[in-house]
């Protein structure tokens, strides 16, 4: 079984995340970049299946700037058998539509039986890529899974919906997205890091995938304005000496909050 796990490099949420006020793009010099935690969890779902099923072949797939090789290597060090890194200058500022088209083309080329993604990325917070991929590929999709069971020809699990949770299942091929209820990824050990250096890492361009970034080819979503909100300032801070509750009530009353 061929499993493609979609991993994404994002600005580290622990650091200062900045957008350029000129281009609206993430300012990569502002802070560290990391593999998005949710995509490491997606990788763990694939690897725990591969642990028990020797026919499973796990490929990490990402679309990211050429400078993101370290993140791709991390996915290999955690345990993916191979990686595909789509990097192309024409993809700078790609919207969701172009991103999905490119990722779908790479998955089609690799012939995946199962695609595993995070439910929501911490930078874009789009949460739409998995469904977009399913539509491109003509696969069934099962999103927001908090439990996952993979068999040779199907995938099932519990889907978190806004109203509650529901059991879902789909025959393969399928796209699933997982939530942070699933476990963290295993930590890359020394052996994994060394092995990663020898694993296949394929770098693809748009031309390799036969995808056009031509703005006339399809409607795109573009940024038309951007502004930065001033950071919040701290207000009063008191130390409780027995009357803090009363002082808080006074504050709430003054501000008409009770």
């Amino acid at each position: 079984m061929k499993i493609f796990v979609l991993v994404k490099e994002v600005p580290d949420t622990y650091g200062d995340r900045k957008l350029s006020l000129e281009t609206g793009l993430a300012d990569r010099s502002a802070g560290d970049v990391v593999l998005d935690e949710i995509t490491e969890r997606a990788l763990e779902v694939a690897l725990s299946y591969a642990d028990k099923n020797s026919d499973a072949e796990v490929t990490a797939l990402t679309m990211a700037p050429a400078s993101s090789t370290a993140s791709v290597r991390r996915a290999l060090a955690i345990g993916a058998a191979s990686a595909v890194h789509i990097a192309d200058e024409q993809l700078v500022g790609a919207d969701l539509g172009l991103t999905a088209e490119v990722l779908a083309a790479a998955i089609r080329r690799g012939g995946a039986d199962l695609v595993i993604t995070g439910n929501l990325s911490t930078d874009g917070s789009g949460g739409v890529i998995p469904a977009m991929l399913a539509e491109h590929l003509g696969y069934a999709q099962a999103t927001a899974l908090s439990t996952v069971e993979i068999t040779a020809d199907s995938v099932s699990g519990t889907r978190a919906t806004d109203a509650g949770s529901q059991p879902v299942s789909a025959p393969l091929p399928a796209v699933i997205s997982i939530t942070e209820a699933l476990p963290d990824a295993r930590f890359p050990n020394f052996k994994g890091i060394m092995a990663a250096k020898k694993k296949p890492l394929e770098v693809l361009s748009l031309a390799d995938l036969d995808v056009s970034a031509d703005p006339a080819a399809a409607p795109r979503s573009i940024m038309t304005a951007i502004s930065e909100k001033p950071p919040r300032a701290a207000g009063v801070k008191i130390v409780d000496e027995g009357d803090a509750a009363d002082q808080l009530v006074d504050f709430l009353v003054q501000n008409r909050l009770v």
Partner: protein, 323 residues
């Protein structure tokens, strides 16, 4: 039939009972700020149709759907509706179901997709989506290069409301199934018993608790203060991970984003990922026994103290005021 020139097609989220979801009024409200809302109700009851009209839809399209097939039947119905109405934009709730439908629909119809908008507006060239990015640190506008945009709208973010329509035109849609493979979905089970507390999304007051509450039993204190204030209950990811409360209450980066009038953080350190979901609140109150907790950097009123002594006193004082 013909539809208004400036139609905005709105997909109403339908809950498992067939009723219109809580997002409906704001979604149709947002549509009414930029055009004439035309609602689509898929697999909903008469009550859902009535709710769409009450929220401001003058035309309500309806379609049946096989509830055991995930997402695809709704996309098929939306495709049929969009082909008829030829609206200026398609608005969908940024719910889990809504995002799935929006993603598939945008690919199928080759439309530009804008997600998680907190509002929409119109200029000479068409509809613009407004976004709040990186936990509210940036405001970003986006628009399609051409064509009809598909926009998902953040739940609880839009205050505008449409004017109720007394006798809407209700039209049943003919839908040709696309035959796209779909997952099979079972019945939805509610994660928690229905409560009379306000919904977290869109709540005007939120009381949230973190790991500082120390146990599921003691987390009840958060609920008691919430009830004394008429507030919704929120939580940090650490509180959710520890099993104090279901995930649907998580506030932050990977949880719900809220902007209430009042946000009270109890025993929450204020990690950057938590602040990303609440720092746009009008007034923030924090109680934490660590004077250096980062939550104080964004608090309008901070108390360095023990939640187990301050909060019971606070509840008593609030109850005393009500008498």
């Amino acid at each position: 039939m013909s539809y208004p020139e400036n139609s905005i097609l709105v997909l109403v989220d339908v809950d498992p009972s067939g009723a219109a979801a809580g997002s409906t009024a704001a979604l149709i409200g947002a549509a009414s700020t930029v055009g004439t809302p035309v609602a689509l109700v898929v697999g909903g009851s008469q009550a859902a149709v009535d709710a769409a009209a009450a929220a401001g839809a003058s035309v309500v399209l309806t379609a049946d759907a096989d509830a055991t097939a995930l997402t695809v039947p709704i996309v098929d119905a939306l495709q049929a509706a969009a082909a008829r109405v030829r609206s200026d934009a398609v608005l969908i709730s940024n719910s889990i179901t809504g995002r799935d439908v929006a993603g598939r629909f945008a690919v199928r119809t080759k439309s530009a997709l804008c997600v998680d908008a907190i509002g929409v507006s119109r200029d000479d060239e068409g509809i613009i989506a407004h976004h709040s990015v990186y936990g509210g640190s940036y405001l970003v506008d986006a628009a399609p290069t051409f064509g009809t945009p598909v926009i998902t709208v953040r739940q609880g973010a839009v205050d505008a409301r449409g004017e109720a329509v007394g006798s809407p035109v209700v039209e049943a849609l003919e839908v040709t199934p696309s035959g796209a493979p779909a997952a099979t979905a079972g019945p939805v089970e509610a994660v928690e018993v229905a409560s009379s507390r306000p919904e977290l999304r869109g709540a005007t007051r939120v009381v949230a608790g973190g790991r500082g509450l120390a146990s599921k039993e003691k987390f009840v204190l958060v609920e008691q203060l919430a009830d004394a204030l008429g507030a919704a209950v929120g939580a940090s990811r650490a509180a959710v991970d520890a099993g104090y409360i279901p995930q649907s209450h998580q506030v932050g980066q990977t949880g719900v984003s809220v902007s209430p009038q009042l946000y009270v953080a109890l025993g929450i350190s204020g990690a950057i990922q938590h602040r990303a979901g609440m720092q746009t609140s009008k007034t923030i109150v924090a109680i934490n026994k660590d004077a250096d907790a980062p939550i104080f950097e964004v608090a309008d009123f901070g108390i360095v103290g023990d939640v187990f002594s301050v909060v019971p006193q606070l509840i008593a004082a609030l109850e005393a005021r009500k008498k």
